[in-house]
């Protein structure tokens, strides 16, 4: 049963081949058995899951037949879930049971999904390896000595290991797409403003966006359709109708114009990944696509710009974790300053502290213009590059990551080398455009991810291209040994 995709589960539940309760029990047993090898869950919400599964079965018995009714999922542990620990992978949120549901959680609940638990992540979504979690690193099911990517590493590992068919994640600089690439999944970061951020604990507000990770583009379409939409509680959410992503999957690719940016295939890219990506391009050509070489000249500035803007916003967003109202508070503070310093000093991990310090510095009097303002100017240039490129092409295609999944601990001594892993994904966040990663083959038994970038609100087109490719390929069906 654990091999079933969301779409297959929907059919199975509709045909009464199994009940939502049976399915959830089976997956909960699998999580209990296998997750100790991966550490992908922070909290397993068994009681809640069974209660929701029974309710879904009752709704179906009463005649309801929506596609996600009874579908088991889990949330990255930065989506607030009423009454359940919401940790952000941080010690500073020790004991924090959110008093409300995030909009994404609420919408998926309303659609009838069953929540199996909360998934591990890099602390406050800061990382590309899922090694910065207070709850310990997550392992990649394709090779448990390697990282699954991050920051949605728990979501990726759990779905790749068939502990559940799909999960929510968030993407600030590649945190859905990069772990999807490293674990052979399909994951999509929607247009900024497409999915509500209400209840999604912020890392960098102007870049954060929630989205699904699943094993197929079809499942992503199913889940994203339920997550997306305008929310009056989020001022940055966009009041525009949600496309029918499932309906757009079937569109033939004849006439699709693909842009290949030369900056995505230059120095720094593992040549074997480049070959796999180009092999997919050949397949897409056979499906009717045309290919054009393009350039995104400002891409080289993306990483420095990102590592000013994201930490600047984070340094402010994370100020509320002060030991005063919720979460971790140090023992016996001797005064207010001591309470702040020790609660935050003891509560935050090294990577979070590093980014708070970088961000605080970038916003300081005398440095603001040189860093923050300059980074915003670069951001505008990057956005302009995409706007220009999408005049001639429908999608931009390239590798999701420059390298394969690396060994746990390998990049800990050199944070900048880990930051460089985001080089292909970060631009989509800076520009606010949607991006998708899908399986493109294997090198040395490790998954290779291919990224598709689209114009604003072109999620349907990206899912369509991925789905059409998945109709003629099998990469996405491969299962890691032992799972």
């Amino acid at each position: 049963m654990h091999q079933l995709t969301l779409a297959e589960i929907a059919r199975g539940l509709a045909d009464k081949q199994f009940s939502a309760e049976e399915l959830s029990r089976s997956l909960l047993a699998r999580i209990a058995q296998l997750d100790p090898q991966l550490n992908s869950f922070i909290t397993v919400t068994e009681d809640l899951a069974l209660e929701q599964a029974k309710a879904a079965d009752a709704r179906r018995a009463a005649g309801e037949n929506s596609p996600l009714l009874g579908a088991p999922i889990a949330h990255k542990d930065l989506f607030c879930t009423n009454g359940v620990l919401t940790s952000c992978g941080s010690k500073i949120l020790t004991g924090f049971k959110a008093p409300y549901d995030a909009t994404v959680v609420e919408k998926l609940k309303a659609a009838g999904t069953v929540t199996l638990g909360k998934l591990n992540m890099d602390e406050f979504a800061m990382g590309s390896a899922n090694e910065s979690s207070h709850y310990g690193p997550v392992k990649n099911p394709w090779d448990t000595s390697r990282v699954p990517g991050g920051s949605s590493g728990g979501s990726a590992a759990a779905v790749a290991a068939r502990l559940l068919p799909a999960a929510t994640g968030t993407d600030t600089g590649g945190s859905i797409r990069q772990p999807a690439a490293l674990t052979n999944l399909t994951g999509i970061k929607p247009t900024y403003g497409r999915v509500s951020r209400w209840g999604m604990i912020a890392y960098a507000s102007s870049l954060d966006q929630g989205g699904p990770l699943a094993r197929t583009a079809e499942d992503c379409a199913l889940l994203l359709g339920a997550m997306a939409g305008f929310d009056s509680k989020d001022s940055t959410s966009v009041d525009q109708p949600v496309d029918d992503y499932l309906a757009s999957l079937a569109q033939p690719l004849a006439g699709l114009r693909i842009g290949l940016p030369k900056e995505y295939f230059g120095a720094g890219l593992d040549a074997r990944i480049g070959e796999k990506v180009m092999a997919v391009v050949e397949e897409l050509k056979k499906l009717g696509a045309t290919v054009k070489d393009i350039s995104l000249p400002n891409m080289q500035h993306a990483i420095p710009a990102y590592y000013v803007i994201a930490p600047a916003e984070a340094s402010s967003n994370l100020s509320r974790f002060d030991g005063v109202r919720f979460g971790y508070r140090c023992e016996n503070p001797k005064d207010l300053q001591d309470l702040y310093k020790r609660s935050r000093g003891e509560g935050f991990g090294a990577e979070v502290k590093r980014r708070i310090m970088v961000g605080t510095y970038a916003l300081s009097a005398g440095y603001y213009d040189a860093y923050y303002i300059k980074a915003q100017q670069i951001r505008r240039l990057i956005k302009n590059d995409f706007v220009a490129a999408f005049k001639d092409v429908d999608v931009i295609l390239g590798p999701t990551t420059p390298n394969l999944a690396w060994k746990l601990g390998e990049k800990n001594a050199d944070p900048v080398s880990a930051y460089l892993e985001d080089i292909y994904t970060i631009t989509a966040n800076l520009a606010g455009i949607p991006g998708l990663s899908m399986p493109a083959g294997f090198v040395d038994g490790l998954p290779v991810g291919l990224q598709l970038l689209g114009n604003y609100f072109q999620e349907g087109r990206l899912l369509n291209v991925a789905h059409q490719y998945q109709q003629v390929s099998d990469w996405h069906k491969a299962t890691p040994a032992g799972f």
């Binding site: 952000c88 959110a98 209840g199 960098a204 009056s232 001022s235 940055t236 005063v324 109202r325």
Partner: protein, 482 residues
Amino acid sequence: MQWETVIGLEIHAQLSTQSKIFSASATTFGAEPNTQASLVDLGMPGTLPVLNAEAVRMACQFGLAIDAEIAERNVFARKNYFYPDLPKGYQTSQMDQPIVGKGFLDITLEDGTVKRIGITRAHLEEDAGKSLHEDFHGMSGIDLNRAGTPLLEIVSEPDIRSAKEAVAYVKAIHALVRYLGICDGNMAEGSLRCDCNVSVRPVGQAEFGTRAEIKNVNSFRFIEKAINHEVQRQIELIEDGGKVVQETRLYDPNKDQTRSMRSKEEANDYRYFPCPDLLPVVIERSFLDELRTGLPELPPQKRERFESQFGLSTYDASVLSASRELADYFEVVEKTCGDAKLSANWVMGELSSLLNKEGLEIEQSPVSAEQLGSLILRIKDNTISGKIAKMVFEALAAGEGASADEIIEKKGLKQVTDSGAIEAMLDEVLAANAEQVEQYRASDEAKRGKMFGFFVGQAMKASKGKANPGQVNELLKKKLEG
């Protein structure tokens, strides 16, 4: 050396919206702690702000009322600092793109001259909560009811030159926001708070001296006292060879002094940057045009109308237009009696001192505007004298009758104008003071003038104030000369 004082004020006006600036919580004053704090106000992880359109509307109304530039686009920024009653660790405010730009306000000084005070800007921001230090056994409590209450921070140019001018300016702002109905102006409850930037410089010097900021001075009286004290402190400091340091000071009304809170070096670097959770606010021209049409008559226009329509002095007109309620009261009195000058004198005189004494607002006046107007009518038609009118006014205030006429009737205060009766009374007075009459008749003009007052006094006393003073004068003169 002669010193000149330079003052700039920052006034925080709480906008009287139904709900908070970024959440749906109510803004009522005095509720049980933390009962008006939503997830947003508590700074719960994952929560986001949504701007209250009513606060934007009120800020625009203020901007229009001070003839300010209102930018098409304004931006909220985060002001970052740690404090227990600041739940998010930053205050959402506005920095380099405020909603209201340069404007001005005319104030009337005590000598009746009008002075224009420049307003640099006014911006929207959220209020913080309150830390409570009593009743928690050495610990502090936090009440976040106030957190997120909309504030309009109004920043003046350093155009103010004395504590009295500062008070006049704050009063003018106070009147304006109340006229507009955007702030209740209740200083005791903190609805209107004032920070004063004070410096001194030798008369004739062009550049400003180093300034100190006095925080949160919360009454007109304290503003005047705090500034005067601070000016004195700075002058003494400089004359003793010292230097004023840029710092924030706190006024202690009990000791009538200011003390240092923190110096410039200790000041926070607030690391302002545009709030990524809020979009820039776009103000449409048509929206402003609509607001402009709906503006009420404001204090400066009302003052000018009082001068031209009623012939009042600038000073009287500005006192009477200082609050909408007072102005309305005055206009009803004037309409009832048809005499603007007398109406102004009574409202600013007897009525004001009565209200002051009782600690009442004009809306709570025990004497209604119609009652006062009718009373003035009785002075004008010689039913009673001005002196008797004061007695009637007191009786009205004490609730001894429903109208001036009723009290005049009941107490028999009607003025005696029958010359026969007055003559008879005068004859008695002169007979009782025969000696003084002799002296009077033996005296020269100058001395007579002085003595005449004595007889008038005796006559009024004998008539219990009811005799018509004009007639008393006239007849008395005749009798004494005759």
